[in-house]
């Protein structure tokens, strides 16, 4: 039996977590990213399960600190953050709302079907839509961009360089 009061508290925590953003892509909340796997109450303790996006993502530590801060501000004093590695995070967990926010921010959102995640060299690139002019006529500049989650593209029509949130 779940206590009604507990249920309300858990709902409140989810709403609070909506306000924690990714320091590297500040338009995305951690719920948009899909990295919060579970919220649970163990008596007075709040336990948050987080699945990191990338093994070496420097934002993970900052996100954990921010979660603690915002929960403390809202009166939750005992907070435990558990890193849950399995199943591994995938860009498929990003919310549709998150993808729209990314595009509005100037980053091409990840495609839902992961078709370039294979080791073969010089694969035919996916057509990535330019977030500025919506043209699909773009080219890959580098598989590695300004952060671990992005690849660098350039639009052949409006000539703007842009980031693509690559499939993982």
């Amino acid at each position: 039996m779940i206590d009604l009061k507990d249920k309300q508290a858990v709902n409140k925590i989810w709403r609070i977590l909506e306000t924690v953003t990714d320091p590297e892509v500040p338009v995305l909340s951690i719920l948009d990213l899909g990295i919060v796997r579970n919220v649970q109450l163990n008596g007075d303790e709040v336990e948050i399960y987080i699945t990191p996006t990338y093994s070496g993502c420097p934002a993970t530590d900052a996100i954990n600190t921010n979660i603690r801060m915002v929960l403390l501000e809202n009166g939750f004093s005992t907070i435990k953050i558990t890193q849950q590695l399995s199943p591994a995070w995938t860009t498929d967990w990003m919310s549709e709302k998150g993808k729209e926010k990314l595009k509005a921010y100037g980053i091409a959102p990840p495609h839902s079907k992961q078709i370039v995640c294979a080791p073969d060299s010089f694969q035919k690139e996916e057509a990535i839509q330019c977030p500025q002019c919506n043209s699909y006529n773009s080219r890959l500049v580098s598989q590695f961009g300004s952060t671990a989650c992005k690849a660098l593209y350039q639009c052949n029509d409006c000539k703007e360089p842009f980031d693509y949130f690559k499939c993982h």
């Binding site: 990191p52 990338y54 093994s55 070496g56 993502c57 420097p58 590695l85 399995s86 199943p87 591994a88 995070w89 995640c117 294979a118 080791p119 073969d120 060299s121 010089f122 694969q123 500049v141 580098s142 598989q143 590695f144 961009g145 300004s146 671990a148 660098l152 993982h168």
Partner: protein
Amino acid sequence: MNKSINISTDQLINYLLHLADNSLIMGHRNSEWCGHGPILEQDIAISNIALDLIGQARNFYQYAAIPIKQSTNQPINLTTEDSLAYLRDTREYKNCLLVEQPNGDWAQTILKQFFFSTYQYYLYQQLQNNADDQLKAIAAKALKEVTYHVRWSSEWVIRLGDGTDESKKRLLRAFDELWMFTGELFEPASYELNMSTDFILMKEEWNKKVCSVFEEATIDVPVEKKWHQSGGKTGNHSEHLGLLLAEMQFMQRAYPNSEW
């Protein structure tokens, strides 16, 4: 496949440290390129790969720290990811010799990355099905990252081999420098036995991938060459590792427990 058979705590610790050390040393070597890459995009690429590898190393060290804390015959000062990375001596490092080799020029860096990433790719493919849940989870996550590393490095091998006379000459020189260190990858150390990894299959897959990329790179090299150098997995390292650790560990050795 049941991993729990015959796996002692010490074996699991050594195995995890070996995986972590491989990633950390390779990642540290890559980080030496940061700010020195041939062009900006490639500087960013190799720094990204360094970050992925150091992240994988952190996951393995964090996992290793758990049984180390519970074990009675392990050094008590080595119970965090930081102390494992910063306070162990050369002889305690279990990385293979390949990853500690100096970067040399871009061709040598690329070829080293290609050999190593291809090895990690096939290893993690097996480990993602391991019976140990944590090992399995770390490998599944890392595999996605390594897939990008294999693509990037193999494209560069092809570009250099099938490029100019100069780039081909350098790639062939890199091959002469590095090939002798690839055999060790497939010679299991005692702690790698019974971990449900099939070394024969892994070597076959690795050879096949290397040969197909070499063919595309139009380089003709005697991959069946037998002479190999080994010892890194059991702590017998080249002088290069000592120099690397001296730099990497300097701050923690000079100012114990410093943080920033």
